[in-house]
Symmetry: C4
Subunit: 239 residues, 4 copies
């Protein structure tokens, strides 16, 4: 259990170091072209997500995201007693990651962001993004678990661009990004709306998945049993 929590903390820390650090680097080099900065930010985040899931999934499942942990518990895949420790580790890790990014780029430890992200379209965006993220995780884990690290990362690269909020889709990430006055920041006052929208999106994905991928239709699960690979709890620990 200590190892699982360490994996969640370290994985979320590295994720935030990437999101915040590449945002700072991209903005500082892009000469005012925000699309170029966001290309760097989104590609760096996607590349890192593949790696973080490959590295930490065999230890803790590489949730790195409270709504993923909640979805797993709600579906009976994770003991409810682990939810709070997991989420605490994720949130703590997220702030550690912001701190690491700030140290690398010579910024103050923590500063409240003034980046306004509050309009209704952005709240809808967070619900859509989190719906898509959780649906991707559930569906690809079932039908093709080896592809899950890539699918999650590619979804996030896409969602940086197709949502009006650049797709936070993660309450721990959202909280910690309120503590950076850089490219990736979000005003603290805008955090609760984002988190509520994320929870709604995740719940929608869990409900849809339960109907659309009803057990009797799960070809992936069958194939796994044939191959003797059933019983895996977590994302992406097979090749």
């Amino acid at each position: 259990m200590a190892r699982e929590l360490a994996a969640e903390l370290l994985g979320t820390a590295l994720l935030l170091a990437v999101v915040v650090g590449s945002g700072i680097m991209g903005e500082s080099l892009a000469g005012g072209n925000v699309a170029v900065a966001l290309l760097a930010n989104s590609l760096a985040t996607g590349a890192a997500l593949v790696v973080l899931i490959l590295v930490f999934a065999p230890i803790s499942g590489a949730h790195l995201n409270p709504v993923v942990t909640l979805s797993a518990a709600g579906r009976g895949k994770l003991s409810w007693s682990r939810v709070v420790p997991y989420v605490v580790a994720q949130v703590l890790g997220a702030f550690v990651g912001v701190l690491v990014a700030h140290v690398m780029f010579g910024q103050p430890s923590f500063t409240a962001s003034s980046h306004v992200r509050g309009d209704p379209g952005q709240l809808v965006s967070e619900a859509v993004a989190t719906f898509g993220l959780v649906l991707t995780i559930l569906a690809v884990k079932r039908s093709r678990p080896a592809a899950a690290p890539y699918a999650v990362a590619l979804f996030i690269v896409s969602a940086y661009w197709f949502t009006a909020s650049t797709s936070f889709a993660n309450p721990a990430v959202t909280l910690a990004r309120a503590a950076t006055a850089t490219f990736a920041g979000i005003r603290p006052v805008d955090v609760p709306g984002f988190v509520v929208a994320q929870v709604i999106g995740a719940a929608g994905a869990v409900a849809l998945f339960a109907w659309l991928w009803a057990p009797e239709r799960a070809p992936g699960a069958d194939r796994q049993h044939v191959a003797g690979q059933g019983g895996l709890v977590d994302v992406a620990d097979e090749a």
Copy 2:
């Protein structure tokens, strides 16, 4: 059957949300550099296509495209009675996706595009793009089905750039993109020409495939039988 149609509708909706949404985001941030906007648009679309095919192929085959559905029916892989429901779900989903993108970005629900895309080179482009897309699907599904989601996405990323039309290659997508007055739009009057060119390109690919990949030369099919994975109807549901 309800699940299959729901998968086609939802998958096509998400595809259009990505195409239209990332077009709006890219253009609004790129400071007038259209190539940077199109880089964002094409990479976001390609990333999403991998995910959508991985997610929905086990349910409905993840056609998300009327000419793919028609090709499957023409080759005896899909009952003709399913063609109309599939196409209706795709077209409906495409408009839903445009609507979702517009809500996220604070645009009016639907607006006719004034983006002119009608010259002969663009019609040839649509035929070439759809020919390449359908050939990719047929060939890679036969010889290496696990790679199909990646191949389809990479083809589309490439075709955004090597065709003069940015490669719509999909009648449902074309129809719905007439309803957005943004980066990804197309004038309604230009839609019929695009759709005709797409059908011609798809028919050419089906004909070429029948000759070039004649049954006795299909190593992939043989290998699948050896591995006990024959009998799969759809794209990409193995790892």
Copy 3:
């Protein structure tokens, strides 16, 4: 045999349509930023290469390149009697591809390029690029054939940038690019030097491979025999 030649012709045609077409599109949209145009050109080419190798390798090996065909013959993997027909199909296909790109973008059928690419550094670049390309094909086909389409494409994406010539690395491509007065062109007078450098680079790769991957050290080959997948002639036809 007719099918093999058709595959080489069509595959090389599509490759050139991508190289030339995405060059035209990239340059026309990049507002004078050549690096952005070359990003589009290189990513589109790499994406298409994965697809073309996946699609055509089961038919003809997807050489799409005279020095690859020569290397295969020199190593006893392809009958010498097939070399001339293969190369003719590749060169013919390359010109067809340039024509298709020109039709899509409303250019004259063929125009001699005035793009100077003749300095000594660029000749060294072509030798290095072709050395790397052929070494990649030989090594990855032996040790991990399923990864070959991706390895070839990633090598070319990289070589667009790390060589001073943007890495033609293919005599058929070089010849046909002399016939386009666009971004991807090369002055006809610079073609022979490029081709000689490419042949030298390819020969170096074949020689190095023979020493560095001597038969008794070939773990990939052994593993293939264990898995019952020996006897494959061509690149990348397994998953």
Copy 4:
């Protein structure tokens, strides 16, 4: 052994040719937009890393990096007697690669860089980057070795952007980049600090790995034994 050293030398040479060459090309074409130059530089490096690891891992393990060699020796995976020859081959190869890049781009053979990279944030960055790189190699090699070439490359693409130093993460690379007065250079006086930070980061990763992936928790190793693929010494030699 001669082949192993040749593989390390050639692989590191090609790596440096890519890092330095794509830096020169990116900067010369980007019209002053450093983010665009770094996008080209980072994508070219990542693409090449996949290829170099696929090509050379079956011969030498494709370390291409003294701290990777040291980590392997420290963990008992490589004889200590091979450490010095490996490192000499890597350093020699790195300088050869810089020379090749300079020849291709018409630069003087070697020139000391004046690129200042010495602030504390950049030293922390090198420790973080090398920690992440070595942890990625150790963890993914254990749980999913076939994904290791991709994971290493994606980590480096990300680390170009999320660290303040653009992630050298390799003492041989750092030394050789002091000899190029181009985009990728580093002042010779800044080299020792980078190397010390890299060694600290690598040591941290080895220590963390020993605790977090203790033998009894290694699902990948177990699965490999079941599949009869145990006993492999090096990265990524299975598909």
